[in-house]
Symmetry: none
Subunit: 199 residues, 2 copies
DNA sequence: CATGGAACCGAACAAATGTTCGGTATGGCC
DNA sequence: GGCCATACCGAACATTTGTTCGGTTCCATG
């Protein structure tokens, strides 16, 4: 469910307070920040936020607000390599776990995501090279997004554009030609960032 | 000063509690865990721990214990930008925390590390571009390592090489000239990887 | 033996904090 | 107008929580 404007403000303030002070605010501190005359108002907003899953409360405990998605790290499933060159056979075998901070990569609460190891140099121009771990979120792609896509049965990492309303996948390397899907184009995930570990 | 055995136990429990519950324990919860008959005992230990700098307290606030260096393994301090172009004034202002997995980046146990935001395009050829968060470990650099270095009082990100036994810093961009330190060359950290978050 | 540190107890107190019960006001909507 | 959601107020209340004061016990050490 959607947060109201006020609820969003409260939530933002709770986040900001935690960053600034290292602990959660009390109801009365929130009250003072918004110059409210009653703690009940704060309690009400917090109830609503909890109702909507935006935060959690431990009844009776002081300063016990918890930000559900504020997990320090979650482990994304790491699948096989994704060719950033010519599409080739899709290797969908899980190779391990990649620990990342969902907040850092701006993943939305409970949003699905996974990691893939890049093979090839077709995204070189975007600074994504062989061996990088790309983080792909399962969300609706927008034009100009970099996406992990299944083209004609094979998966690849490219930038998604549209020409005459038809999707075209662009490499970020002049040595590669744009790909126009002939049969099917399935976007598996949208690039939200990547990680490189030096070897 | 050295912590006593008991103080260490208390500290460990506080850490464990925070991991398990996402918030700090109250004095009475600590008391119950150790089966103590008086909260005063807990308060006493916490005072001692604060005295020794092992943790911080916010007087009068509930559950307000704070672990000063708890970021050791999970969150790296993020400093200002590091120019990957021409060296410029070093901005050593802490900007926040970058949560990473030390294992993923192959950091050694207890090895110091920090993060810097890249500015400029001089490492473009290495796939490190403006806005990337580079992870730098405090360790001895080897030849061909990418390093964050302080050259003549200004910090920069370059590849470290040697010519005739003298250190030379190379950009990974033909538009930049090698830097030969005239006065001092202080290696601040060795590149172990980086993170990019799409914008 | 005297001294002092470390660990602990008991009880009371004050402050901080969450909870709950009514009530008001505004605006959109049928 | 009646209905509902949202936002808010005021005041009491019960709990949780931190703080403080005076004690005890044990043990190492001079």
């Amino acid at each position: 469910m959607q947060l109201t404007e006020r609820q969003q403000e409260i939530l933002d303030h709770v986040r900001a307070y935690r960053r600034a002070h290292g602990l959660m605010p009390s109801l009365r501190e929130i009250q003072q920040h918004f110059r409210l005359k009653s703690v009940a108002t704060v309690a009400q907003h917090l109830d609503a936020l909890q109702e909507k899953g935006a935060l959690q409360r431990h009844p009776g405990k002081a300063r016990s607000l918890a930000l559900p998605q504020a997990r320090v790290s979650v482990e994304l499933p790491l699948f096989g390599t994704i060719p950033a060159g010519r599409p080739s056979a899709n290797e969908a075998l899980a190779d391990g776990q990649v620990p990342i901070d969902p907040v850092l990569f701006r993943l939305r609460p409970r949003e699905e995501a996974f990691a893939l190891k890049v093979r090839g140099d077709s995204m070189e121009g975007a600074g994504i090279i062989d061996g990088d771990l790309v983080i792909l979120a399962c969300r609706e792609p927008k034009a100009r997004d970099i996406v992990g896509a299944l083209v004609d049965g094979e998966s690849t990492l490219k930038r998604l554009t549209f020409e005459h309303g038809k999707p075209v996948l662009l490499a970020e390397n002049p040595r590669y030609q744009p790909i126009i899907a002939t049969e099917e184009l399935l976007i598996q995930g949208v690039y939200v960032g990547h990680i490189r570990v030096s070897r």
